[in-house]
C-alpha cells in the first residue's frame, strides 16, 4: 500500500475480476512506446501511472490539459517516436477538437489509453448509467476511431497490435480501461 503524498485517496471497490497493471505496462513497452503523456486519472492512477512514473524505460510528460497530449504525440510521431496519452474519459471529451483535427483529419497515429471514470465494469460502456461514459464509444464510432475495451486480463493482448496498427497505418486508436488495474 502506498501512503502519504503518493497514496490514492479513493479506494478501489471490491472486484472479483482482476485487471493487472503490470501486463498492460509490458504491452505498452512491447509496442515501442517511449513517451507517456498524462493528466492523472483515478482509474489508472495506482495500477498504471504510478508504476510508469517510476519506470526508467518510459519518459513521462505530465501535461496540464489532455489536448496537449494530442499535439505532443503528433510532434513526436514526426520524429519516429511513439507516445501514449494516458487520460481520463472526461479529458478525452475535452480534447475532441484536437483529436478531430490532428488525429482524424491529418491522419496521425495518436494513441490514447482512456480511463472510464465511475464506470461499472460489469456493464458495457455504451450501456453505462453514466452519461459521460455512455457517449464515449458512440463518439469514437462517429469519428471513425478504432477502439478496444481493456476490461480484464484477456483484453491486454489487444494493446500492442492496436498501437502497432495505429503507427503502421497512421491513424488514432483508443484503448478504454473499464476497471482499475491492480
Amino acid at each position: 500500500m502506498v501512503e502519504g503524498l503518493d497514496a490514492d485517496l479513493v479506494a478501489d471497490a471490491p472486484d472479483p475480476i482482476v485487471l493487472a497493471g503490470a501486463p498492460i505496462i509490458a504491452a505498452i513497452k512491447a509496442a515501442g512506446v517511449e513517451y507517456i503523456l498524462s493528466v492523472p486519472d483515478i482509474v489508472t492512477s495506482r495500477g498504471l501511472l504510478r508504476p510508469i512514473a517510476n519506470d526508467p524505460a518510459f519518459k513521462l510528460i505530465r501535461v496540464c490539459k489532455e489536448d496537449e497530449c494530442i499535439g505532443i504525440a503528433c510532434g513526436l510521431s514526426y520524429c519516429n517516436k511513439r507516445a501514449l496519452a494516458l487520460i481520463q474519459h472526461t479529458g478525452f471529451l475535452d480534447s475532441i477538437n484536437a483529436i478531430r483535427g490532428v488525429a482524424v483529419e491529418y491522419g496521425q497515429p495518436i494513441c490514447m489509453m482512456i480511463g472510464l471514470l465511475q464506470h461499472d465494469p460489469y456493464t458495457a460502456p455504451r450501456n453505462s448509467p453514466r452519461y459521460g461514459v455512455r457517449i464515449v464509444e458512440p463518439i469514437l464510432d462517429a469519428m471513425g476511431i478504432p477502439h478496444h475495451l481493456i476490461n480484464e486480463d484477456a483484453d491486454v493482448a489487444r494493446i500492442r497490435p492496436a498501437i502497432d496498427d495505429a503507427y503502421a497505418n497512421s491513424h488514432p486508436v483508443a484503448l478504454l480501461v473499464g476497471r482499475r488495474p491492480s
Binding site: V63, I70, G71, I72, G75, L76, V102
Partner: protein, 187 residues
C-alpha cells in the same frame, strides 16, 4: 511597436535547419519568407502549436525547434507554458506574436490586450525570457535568442497586420506533412 513581417524577415536570417512551427497569420507571414521543408503548419486545433513544438523538441533534441504562436493561440493553451518549463527542452524557442487580436477570426480583441506574457513565462519556469517591442533591439538580439539554450520564450509586440490571404489548403497540404515527416524521420 513592430510589424510581424519585419520581425520574421529578421528571424529568417538566423534560421537554417531549425523546424519552424507556425499557425494562422504567423504561418502566412513566415511562409512569405520562403518555402522550406522544415516548416510545420499542420497544427489541427488552435492553441496546440506550442504542444506540437514540444513534441518535436523532445523527439529531435539534436535540432532546434522554433514556435511562432499568435497571442490568441497562446491563450488557448496557457497550461503548455508549465508543461514546457517542466519538460525543459534545451532546443525549444517559443515566440508569441502579441497584437492583441484574433486576426484570422475577424480581428476581434483578445480578452486582455495588455496581458504580460513574458512574466507568465518567467513564472512558469522558462530558462530565458525576452520581451521585444523595438525592432532594432530585436534585430540586435535575434541570433542570441534563437541559439540560446532553452526553453526560451520571447514576446514580439507587433501592430495588427493588414488583410492576409489564408490559403489553408496550401498550408495544410498532406504532401507538406509527408515531406516534413520524411525529413525529420531521417537521422
Amino acid at each position: 511597436m513592430m510589424k510581424r513581417d519585419a520581425c520574421f524577415r529578421i528571424l529568417a536570417r538566423h534560421v537554417t535547419d531549425e523546424v519552424v512551427v507556425a499557425t494562422y497569420s504567423s504561418a502566412v507571414d513566415w511562409l512569405a519568407q520562403g518555402e522550406r521543408t522544415l516548416n510545420y503548419f499542420s497544427i489541427g486545433a488552435m492553441g496546440l502549436d506550442s504542444s506540437h513544438a514540444l513534441g518535436l523538441a523532445l523527439g529531435r533534441p539534436d535540432r532546434r525547434i522554433i514556435c511562432l504562436q499568435g497571442d490568441g493561440s497562446f491563450l488557448m493553451n496557457l497550461g503548455c507554458l508549465v508543461t514546457i518549463a517542466a519538460a525543459a527542452p534545451k532546443n525549444l524557442v517559443h515566440f508569441v506574436v502579441q497584437n492583441g487580436t484574433y486576426e484570422a477570426n475577424g480581428g476581434h480583441p483578445i480578452p486582455n490586450t495588455g496581458a504580460d506574457f513574458a512574466t507568465m513565462a518567467r513564472a512558469a519556469g522558462y530558462a530565458h525570457v525576452y520581451d521585444f517591442a523595438d525592432l532594432a533591439n530585436f534585430e540586435q538580439q535575434a541570433a542570441h535568442v534563437v541559439h540560446q539554450q532553452g526553453p526560451v520564450f520571447a514576446t514580439l509586440h507587433v501592430e495588427r497586420g493588414g488583410p492576409l490571404t489564408y490559403d489553408y489548403p496550401k498550408l495544410y497540404d498532406a504532401a507538406r506533412r509527408a515531406a516534413l515527416k520524411k525529413e525529420l524521420g531521417r537521422r
